[in-house]
């Protein structure tokens, strides 16, 4: 009787979970935002005969290359964590996740250290167009990296919560994974454009 009145729910699995859809569109908007920043950089750069301008410090290409490798490694390790999670090896997944998170924190701290050095050498937001656009682009990326790290910390807490459903954990993991991949994937483009080109 009760079965007829209240049939068990047979919810359809969504094609893509809502959180993931939201994140995808957020990243689409952010990509356009960064594309506009890169455009501004290229136009500023093309407008002057010498780049970087005379009297401005050169950017630390090699140390940032090392830091870039740390960030890329963080992305790869997060994928390993995801693979372990999919295989239900939660302990291994959490360990890899923490390593990935640690690498991300290292990247941001190292960037901060570089900035302190550059400011010491006279490269500030107001020193020239070069300084202004450098801090704008790299700072925006750093702010996204910090936001993604906060998200990674929040999801880590949820992954460690045994009361949480595995499906919800998987959705949380995927959502923050996409955001972190955006941060990791965008960095080589910015590094090449701002530091090398």
């Amino acid at each position: 009787m009760s079965a007829n009145l209240n049939p068990p729910l047979n919810p359809r699995k969504p094609v893509i979970p809502n959180g993931v859809v939201g994140m995808l569109f957020f990243i689409a908007a952010e990509l356009m935002f960064f594309a506009a920043m890169v455009s501004a950089y290229m136009i500023l750069r093309a407008g002057v005969p010498v780049w970087p301008p005379w009297g401005q410090p050169r950017l630390p290409v090699w140390t940032t290359a090392f830091n870039s490798l740390v960030l890329l490694a963080s992305g790869v390790i997060l994928q390993f964590a995801r693979n372990a999670f999919s295989k239900e090896d939660i302990a291994k997944s959490l360990n890899l996740y923490r390593i990935s998170l640690g690498a991300g924190v290292f990247f941001v701290l190292f960037q901060g250290y570089e900035w302190v050095q550059l400011i010491g050498f006279g490269l500030t937001m107001t020193s020239s167009n070069y300084g202004g656009i450098f801090y704008l682009i790299i700072g925006l990326h750093a702010s996204h990296a910090i936001a993604a790290l906060v998200g990674l910390f929040i999801v880590l807490g949820r992954l460690q919560d045994p009361a949480r459903e595995r499906y919800s954990q998987a959705v949380d993991f995927t959502t923050i994974q996409i955001f972190w991949y955006f941060v990791v994937g965008l960095w080589p483009i910015l590094y090449f454009t701002v530091y090398i080109m």
Partner: protein
């Protein structure tokens, strides 16, 4: 008539007609940078939205057999 003369005058002064309100230099590379970035900003939205659309479609196709088999199960 005034309009006609204006057009002729503009035709005789092509450099003035090409003046750009946002250009702050006459360097050749500057114009190329404008072209490149304009092209990038035009092409990026369809590429992004197309990628998201393809991702949706791929997931939908992957999920379809699973949903159909779920629908065929006898309901209580």
């Amino acid at each position: 008539m005034k309009g006609f003369f204006s057009v002729v005058a503009a035709g005789l002064l092509p450099q003035a007609a090409w003046a750009c309100s946002v250009c702050f230099t006459g360097r050749e590379g500057f114009m190329e940078a404008f072209y490149a970035t304009t092209l990038m900003l035009i092409l990026l939205p369809p590429v992004i939205l197309g990628s998201i659309g393809y991702f949706f479609y791929k997931n939908y196709k992957k999920l379809q057999p699973e949903q159909q088999s779920g629908d065929q199960q006898p309901k209580p």
